[in-house]
Symmetry: C2
Subunit: 228 residues, 2 copies
DNA sequence: GCGTACGGTAAAGAAATCTTTACCGTTTGT
DNA sequence: ACAAACGGTAAAGATTTCTTTACCGTACGC
């Protein structure tokens, strides 16, 4: 993944500097904002991948700012604060925060939490589904397996996306059709069957690759990783 | 959202029971597993939306089981444990956990963390991009605005997805083309222009709706919410 | 052993998408 | 004021996708 950009919003200059140095040493690009108004500016310019937000800021409440952020970005928000009262934690998480870390915090733990959030963002927020080593990229209109990019049609993407989301579960033809076509299967139709066949051919799911696309029951498909 | 299913993996029966009652009272469906082997079974049967995982289990390590889970499901995993050494927290998060809560924990905080994880999953993990009140659903092949569902073509979905992800930022024609076509714009091409036109017509972005799709600079588009 | 049901593939017609072209109104620069 | 550049829309042809149909092999029940 390309270098991720972190937006650090924190009023204590020395804490801000320590954090900035730490995350830059970890390979991130760190953008700092000691006030909420500066944070607003940086948000437009930098488009951060994740935001670390102090609850207590000179020009407003971090909680309220969180709601404002949510309007503009889907980036994960991790609250940082001294307050460790339960009520405060709950409020932060329910206001739209993704995590809540109380000071004093261990930088390695904070870093691990950042990693955890970014990992999930990478999997999802960018219109991408992942079931390593398979990636379905709706935005690019393709799937990637073992480094091989394969352009897929819309229906193939929908189908494969469906399989990835419900990986390991049995999916009836009917459920699949409803999910991807938005309506019940009309009378008799072998459309799904045909698309699955095309998908198999394009993605080479047979030939002992990473995945199996089988039919364990009548009128059902199951998609799973090859165990080895 | 439909009732979410939680998988509680915990060897202490009384703790398990307390958690089960608590989450059921909160409106969740709670599935219990006092051993890892039972967890494996439940995983197949129930397809949980989120997993609460105790690190110390009689028949194996929660950390290792987490890696196993990641093979089968994308559901968020929250670790529960007495261990609060930094090293343990970091390990859990890097092994594929989404959050880590140490015992003794406050049930309301745990619940808030569950909510935060599910909120993000609902927004993203299912192949959906959201910029309320606009939703781009790749799996369904449609966009939803003000409750109106509009079926889109693949290129339109890619384009709109691109706009949602980079909402509020200026996007050059070239960047857009690279993202959605995977290659630099060939010579002279008005393809993007044409698709944008179709998208506008289908989604009715003019006529004072929620969104603006403008061109603030030469060869650039900008997509943003209508401020009011 | 036979017939049926089912999963799978391939190919062809039907249908839609994608690209290009043409044209129009507005803005920009000279 | 004029020409050129640009954003926008609409329509047509080229291309691709989607659906249906046909056909093949295997598994299952009788």
């Amino acid at each position: 993944m390309k270098q991720a950009t972190l937006l650090l919003i924190e009023d204590e200059e020395d804490v801000l500097e320590i954090n900035r140095e730490y995350f830059e040493s970890k390979g991130y690009r760190a953008v700092c904002a000691p006030t909420l108004s500066q944070a607003r500016f940086q948000l437009e310019e930098q488009a951060p991948d994740l935001i670390l937000l102090d609850v207590v800021m000179p020009d407003g409440s971090g909680f309220d700012f969180c709601a404002e952020l949510r309007q503009k970005t889907n980036a994960p928000i991790i609250f940082l604060t001294c307050r460790d009262e339960n009520e405060s934690v709950v409020k932060g998480l329910l206001k739209g925060g993704d995590d809540y870390v109380t000071k004093p915090y261990d930088l390695d733990i904070l870093s691990a939490r950042v990693t955890a959030q970014l990992r999930r963002r990478g999997n999802t927020a960018a219109g991408i589904l992942e079931l390593p080593p398979l990636t379905v990229d709706f935005l690019a209109g393709e799937a990637v397996l073992d480094g091989i990019h394969t352009a897929l049609t819309l229906k193939e993407l929908q189908l494969l996306g469906c399989f990835v989301i419900y990986a390991g579960q049995r999916l009836t033809f009917e459920k699949i059709y409803r999910r991807a076509w938005g309506e019940p299967t009309p009378g008799a139709s072998d459309t799904v069957k045909a698309h699955v066949s095309n998908l198999r051919k394009k993605m080479k799911f047979d030939d002992g690759s990473w995945f199996e696309l089988t039919s364990p029951r009548k009128n059902e498909y199951m998609f799973s990783k090859v165990r080895y």
